[in-house]
Amino acid sequence: MRERPFFHPDRGAGCYWGKSMASAPKGMRLFRNLNAKIAALPMIFTTLVVFVGGTLWTVFYSFTDSKLLPRERFVGFDQYERLWGSSLWVTSIQNIMFFGAMSLVFTIVMGFVLAALMDQKIRFEDTFRTIMLYPFALSFVVTGLVWQWILNPDLGIQHVVREMGWTTFNFDPMNNPDTVLYGLLIAGLWQGTGFTMVLMLSGLRGIDEDIWKAVKVDGIPTWKAYLFVIIPMMRPVFITVLVLAAAGIIRLYDLVVAQTSGGPGISSQVPAMYVYRYMFSAQNLGQGFAASTMMLLSVLIVLIPWAYLEFGGKKRG
């Protein structure tokens, strides 16, 4: 979105703003650039029908009492009242908030620390990066299943440490409702921090060598330089990481399904699982629509301030 040329008089087609497609006068103008328009049809279809249309459709039907099939019997905010009255949903929200806060903090701290370490002109940088990033190539299902196995209390880490002689050692996050989210966190961070590190490292590399020289001339200790000079300069990278991580967290689904299936009990349920349950197995579409609308709302809460910061003041592209 860097370069946003609104007007290209030399490219054949004028770009008109302010009017919508529908109100365009018919005739020659519609056929100008026809090939490009034909080529863009999939995009136009995707944006209008699936993204905008689909979103509006779901929001619209979240106000109905649709059960097995969508139907237009409006019940106002009933679905939302039931949603927030459901302990399953409230637990899901609490879980995602806790998991989200923890993973945002750890992702950013670990990602930045690793990037700062990698930026010390170290040897074998490529090897280190390859090792840290490979989990990111894997499916969340694979990640979830591997960690489920490693954290298995009878045969996993707990068992190994107990075999070594420390018989009271307790490390069984997956079977305790209070700690199961930490089990998910270990797996989630394993998969995602390498990626954050790569983004942060590219941010660090983008910092002018002169800044470092100036810092050194002034005799500022390196850790202070990182904290008070470099991090503030890397604000855009931090915001990108934050937005990407937050968007990923709200969508969190496969990892939980694979690693814990939402258990023990409902202690690791997340909103995306609630939506799936009501849309595709409990046959209560209205609830599913209301829940997914709440998910959309939470993304907008993240996205709108970001868009405002990113394009603040300026006309939003």
Partner: protein, 306 residues
């Protein structure tokens, strides 16, 4: 976490990070620096090691042994079983079914989505038309919208098209939801190419498709490779769309893997489970290790929106 932070502070504070050349190999700074990095690498490597080792052991050895220890007696039995006879529900033909399903889903999805998105990006950069930027903005914002809100409308759409529950339907879904990121990728790349190229071709009378095929395509082959990496790993790893838009006979590998491992029936065979998990991870891992820096470039291109 606090201790790691202080480690960094300590070791970057001790000597300047940007010195001319490291003097001693075993300076305290280097020990801290490489020590922390190696420790972190152990965390990242551990699951791969455990997966590999477990999948090569027999069940008796797993029950008495230590998950980190290498197998005393190497057996490939779990791999064979996972591939050809592990059960999901009533089907006992192993993960091979899911593998071939995933291949049939991934190959057309990748090809179609890349063609569509590259033409799209090209049109957005060089053939702007009224409203094209608006569509692009919606597309990018759409990539942040939780898929859950578009799932049911997609189900209806596929049903209307007669594609619900079929491979073709899933290919369409992947093409649609892969479009934002790929279009962004190609748009950014095409807009970095010199505009004179395009103008010169226009003067010479080349049209929309002519310029695309003869100039843009050959010039952006590296970008196609990046897109290929991004899409193959992304689609191969998909779980949600596979669950929602297909039926059990054509479940992709990830879904079948989950069903095999998390099935409640029968005795848990951890070695078979880990072999199955490895098998599912092999394709993206192969892509990752074969592509090297291009993979980094691909994901970074997707993330940094310029």
């Amino acid at each position: 976490m606090a201790s790691v932070t202080t480690n960094v502070a300590a070791n970057v504070g001790r000597s300047s990070a940007r010195g001319p050349k490291p003097r001693r190999v075993l300076s305290p700074r280097n020990i801290m620096l490489y020590g922390t990095l190696i420790l972190m690498c152990l965390y990242y490597l551990l699951p791969l090691w455990v997966m590999m080792m477990t999948s090569l052991k027999g069940m008796p050895e797993i029950r008495i042994g230590n998950i980190f220890a290498p197998p005393v007696e190497i057996t490939f039995e779990p791999w064979i079983k996972a591939w050809s006879s592990a059960c999901t529900g009533l089907n006992c033909d192993g993960l091979s079914r899911g593998f071939w399903n995933s291949v049939q889903i991934t190959v057309p999805s990748v090809i179609i989505s890349i063609i569509v998105a590259s033409v799209n990006g090209y049109a957005l950069v060089n053939w702007k038309f009224k409203g094209s930027e608006v569509f692009f903005t919606i597309l990018i914002f759409g990539s942040f919208i939780p898929y859950q809100i578009m799932l049911y409308p997609m189900v209806i759409l596929l049903r209307e098209l007669g594609l619900y529950g079929s491979l073709g339907g899933l290919v369409l879904v992947h093409t649609i939801f892969g479009m934002p990121i790929l279009t962004l990728l190609f748009r950014n790349y095409f807009s970095s190419l010199p505009e004179e190229l395009f103008k010169a071709a226009r003067v010479d009378g080349a049209g929309f498709w002519g310029i695309y095929l003869q100039i843009m395509l050959p010039m952006s082959l590296p970008m196609f490779v990046v897109a290929l990496i991004l899409q193959v790993t992304g689609i191969w790893n998909d779980f949600l769309f596979g669950v929602v838009f297909t039926k059990p006979e054509i479940y992709p590998m990830t879904v079948q893997l989950n069903n095999i491992v998390n099935s409640v029936q029968g005795v848990k065979e951890y070695n078979v489970n880990m072999a199955a998990t490895m098998l599912t991870g092999l394709v993206p891992l192969f892509i990752y290790f074969a592509s090297g820096k291009l993979f980094v470039r691909g994901i970074a291109a997707g993330a940094v929106k310029g």
